[in-house]
Symmetry: C2
Subunit: 413 residues, 2 copies
C-alpha cells in the first residue's frame, strides 16, 4: 500500500521551517505497512496544489496533506480541494462548535476569518481537531483516500494517532512490515558490507537489508514484508542474530537507539555510572547523554573545562602537566579522565581535549587534533585523533568517537 505526503505552505519552501512532520508521518505509516512513495512540498497556490494532487494520485492510493489551513491562508487548500472534487463548500456544525469552544476558552472574540475555518468541502468527513481550530478532512474518492490535516505538528500528530491511522487500518487491508535495526560502531559502510556479504546474499526477496551510516556509526536495518507476522518476526530475528554473531563487539545495540542511550542502558543494567570531563566538545557530549529521559540513573554530570584553570580546579589536572605538555596532550587527557573518576566518583569517565578550530592550531597540533580518554573498572585507553578543520564537525566527531571508545571498553568487560 503506497501513500504520498504533500505539505502546503511557503514556510517550508523559503527554509523558514524544517519539515519534521513528514518524517514522523512516514514512521507512523511504515509501522502499519504503508510505504511512502514521495513527499512533496508545494506553495500556497491553487494550480500548483492541483498539479501535485494529480501527480500523487497517479502513484499512490493514499494522499496525506498537511498545512495550508491557517486562518490567514485565505482557505486556499480547502477551496482547491473543493474544486478538485467538483463540490461546494458547506458549514460543518461540529467544526464550528470546536472553533467557538476554543475562542471562548481564551476569551477571544470569534472573527469572521475564524468562523470560516468551519467551512469545508461538501464531500468530506470532518476529523475533529482537539488541539486547534482547523478541522481535518477525510475524502474517499475513486477507491482512494485523501486526508487534509493542519500543519501544526502536535495538532497533526494527535489527529494521525487518534483518527487517521485507525481509519486507514479499517479502510485498507495492510501488509505486515517488520523492521529490526542493529547499531554498529567503528567500522565503515563498505567494510561492513564485505564482512556480511554472504549473509546479505542469503536473504529471501521479502527481507531487505539497508545500511544507514551516520558519523562513525552504521545502522543495519532489516525490513521484512509479508502476511504472517509471527513467521516474519522469527525469520528476521534469525538473520539479526547471524549478523550480531558475525559482527561481535561492534554491535552496540540490537534496537534503533542512539549510541549514548545504548551505553547508558548497558551501564544501568550493571548498576554503573558515567561522568564527563570535556573541553573542546564544550558540553555537547554531556548534552548527548542528558537529552534522554532517565539519564540521571547513570549520568552523574561533568565538567566543561574550557579554560586551563578549570581543568586544574575542578579536575585536579596538575598545572605542571599543562605547562610541560600543553592542554591538548596525552598527559592532560589522562589526568582529566582520572580526575573525573576521582572527583565525580563514577564507574566510568570520558575526557576530551582538543583544538576544535577554526583557529588555535599550531604546526605540532593543528586544528582537529583531539585527545580522548576513557577509563573505569581498572582500564584506561587514551588515544589521539586528527579530525578536520571544521569546528562543529570536530565537536560532533570527537563526541561520537569518545562514545565508540567507551562502547568498546564496556563490550570487553
Amino acid at each position: 500500500m503506497l501513500a504520498e505526503i504533500i505539505t502546503i505552505g511557503d514556510e517550508i519552501l523559503i527554509g523558514q521551517i524544517i519539515d519534521t512532520n513528514s518524517a514522523w508521518m512516514a514512521q507512523e505509516l511504515n509501522a502499519v505497512g504503508i510505504r511512502i512513495k514521495q513527499i512533496s512540498s508545494v506553495s500556497d497556490d491553487r494550480e500548483h496544489i492541483l498539479k501535485a494532487l494529480d501527480e500523487a494520485q497517479q502513484r499512490a492510493d493514499i494522499i496525506l496533506i498537511t498545512g495550508g489551513l491557517g486562518p490567514t491562508k485565505d482557505d486556499i487548500t480547502k477551496k482547491t480541494l473543493a474544486g478538485y472534487f467538483g463540490v461546494d463548500m458547506r458549514l460543518d456544525e461540529e467544526a464550528l462548535a470546536n472553533v467557538t469552544r476554543i475562542f471562548a476558552k481564551y476569551n477571544r472574540p470569534l472573527l469572521e476569518v475564524n468562523r470560516q475555518q468551519a467551512m469545508v468541502p461538501a464531500n468530506c468527513e470532518v476529523l475533529n481537531n482537539h488541539n486547534g481550530t482547523a478541522p481535518g478532512m477525510w475524502f474517499n474518492h475513486n477507491g482512494k483516500v485523501l486526508v487534509s490535516m493542519p500543519g501544526v505538528p502536535h495538532e497533526m500528530m494527535y489527529m494521525m494517532e487518534q483518527q487517521v491511522i485507525p481509519k486507514l487500518k479499517e479502510t485498507f487491508t495492510l501488509p505486515v512490515i517488520i523492521h529490526k535495526t542493529l547499531l554498529t560502531v567503528g567500522e565503515g559502510e563498505s567494510f561492513l558490507a564485505e564482512r556480511i556479504a554472504d549473509i546479505e546474499d542469503s536473504l529471501p526477496p521479502y527481507i531487505k537489508l539497508a545500511y544507514l551510516p551516520k558519523l562513525g556509526q552504521v545502522r543495519l536495518r532489516l525490513s521484512s514484508y509479508g502476511d504472517d507476522r509471527y513467521l516474519l518476526q522469527a525469520e528476521l530475528d534469525g538473520f539479526a542474530t547471524q549478523l550480531t554473531q558475525r559482527l561481535g563487539n561492534i554491535v552496540a545495540a540490537d534496537e534503533d537507539i542512539a549510541l549514548e542511550k545504548a551505553i547508558m542502558n548497558r551501564l544501568e543494567e550493571r548498576g554503573e555510572t558515567i561522568s564527563i570531563a570535556e573541553s573542546c566538545t564544550g558540553g555537547y557530549l554531556s548534552h548527548l547523554f542528558t537529552q534522554h529521559a532517565g539519564s540521571s540513573a547513570t549520568f552523574l554530570g561533568g565538567a566543561v573545562s574550557y579554560s586551563n584553570q578549570l581543568k586544574e580546579s575542578i579536575l585536579g589536572v596538575n598545572p605542571a602537566t599543562i605547562e610541560q605538555f600543553g592542554a591538548v596532550s596525552e598527559q592532560t587527557a589522562t589526568e582529566m579522565v582520572q580526575g573525573a573518576l576521582k572527583q565525580f566518583k563514577s564507574t566510568y569517565a570520558i575526557s576530551i581535549t582538543g583544538i576544535a578550530g577554526p583557529t588555535g592550531g599550531t604546526d605540532a597540533k593543528p586544528v582537529g587534533t583531539v585527545w580522548i580518554g576513557v577509563a573505569g573498572n581498572g582500564e584506561m585507553v587514551v588515544r589521539k585523533f586528527q579530525f578536520g578543520n571544521k569546528r562543529r564537525q570536530n565537536i560532533e566527531r570527537s563526541a561520537i568517537t569518545a562514545l565508540g571508545m567507551l562502547n568498546t571498553l564496556l563490550a570487553a568487560k
Copy 2:
C-alpha cells in the same frame, strides 16, 4: 529565477532521517534571489527519479538533487542521470584522486565500490567533494542547470557555499536582494508589531519586513529587492537604525546571529567572561556557547552538575540547602550561580536547575519547573519558570530563557 530540490533516498521516505538539507538550501538560495518552487523526496528508484526530474524541469530552471550517492547505493542516481542525459559513464581522475586520498588518510584499503564513486556521467562537470568520497556533479542542459550533491549535510553545505552558489551567480542574472536582520529578545511578535507599526507602514513597496519568531526571540528581517545594491543597502540601513532606536534594549544584535553569540560579542568588547552551572539542561547551554568559533575568549567553562553530589563538590552548594529546599529551588539556583562566579572566576554566571521530565515531578514541583539564576558585576536575578512536560523542549526553553535573562542584565549595564 525558480529552482526545485529533489532529495533521493529511502531514509527520508521511511522517516529515518528528517530532511534538514532542503530548508538550509532554500535559505541559501533565497538569499541570492532564487526561489524554491517545490521540494520532492523520492525513492532510490530509476523510474521514479526520472519522473521527478521530468516534472521538476517543467517548473524550474535549476534542479538541485541531494542524496543517493553512497557507495552501497548501487550508483542508481548517477546511472539514472546518465540515462536521463543519454550519455555514458566516465572515470573522473580528480574524483578518483579524492577518494584515494581520503582512504589513504584513514589507512583503509580502497575497495572496488569506493573506486566506483569516481565514475560519473560523461557530460557532467565534477564538483570536488572536500569532505567525502562522493563527487558533486554539475550539468548544463537546454539552458537549465542540474546539480547532484551528496546527502550528507556538511558535505552538501560546503559544496553549496564554495561551488554551487558562486556558479549559479555566474550562470544566471540574479536580482539583487539584501537582507538585514535584527535579533530581538523578550517581546512577543504581536507586541513588537504594534510598537513599530508606523515604521513598517512607511516602508517602500520594495522593502519587506518579516517577523521570524523562535523560542522567545523574534528576528526582524528587512529584505530589499532591486537593481542598485548601493542604494538598497543605504536605505535598508536607514530603516534598521530606526527600528533599533525604537526598540532599544530588546535588540540583542543588529545581525543574524544566535543570541549566545551576541552575548559573547558584548562580553568580549568589555573584556568580560562567563561560566555556567547547569543541571537540567545537562550541557546544552554550554554547548550553545562553545559551538561558536572564538568562544574561548569569553567562555571559561562550567559544571554539568546533574547529581546533587556534584552541585556540592564543584559548585560549593551547601548540602543543607539541598536537603531543606530541594535541588530545584530558588536557594539552590542562587548558591549555584554564586558558586560558579566564585569557583570559575568569571565576570558573569548562569545557573539552571529544574525538572526536565518526563518523570521526576511532584505536586509541588511538577515536570517543567525550572529555576534560573544570572549574576555578575554585583547584580543577581533568580527566577522560577513553569515550562511544559516535554523533555527536549524544556531543555531548549530553559537555555534560551537563561540567555534572555543574561542579555537583559547585560543591557542594563
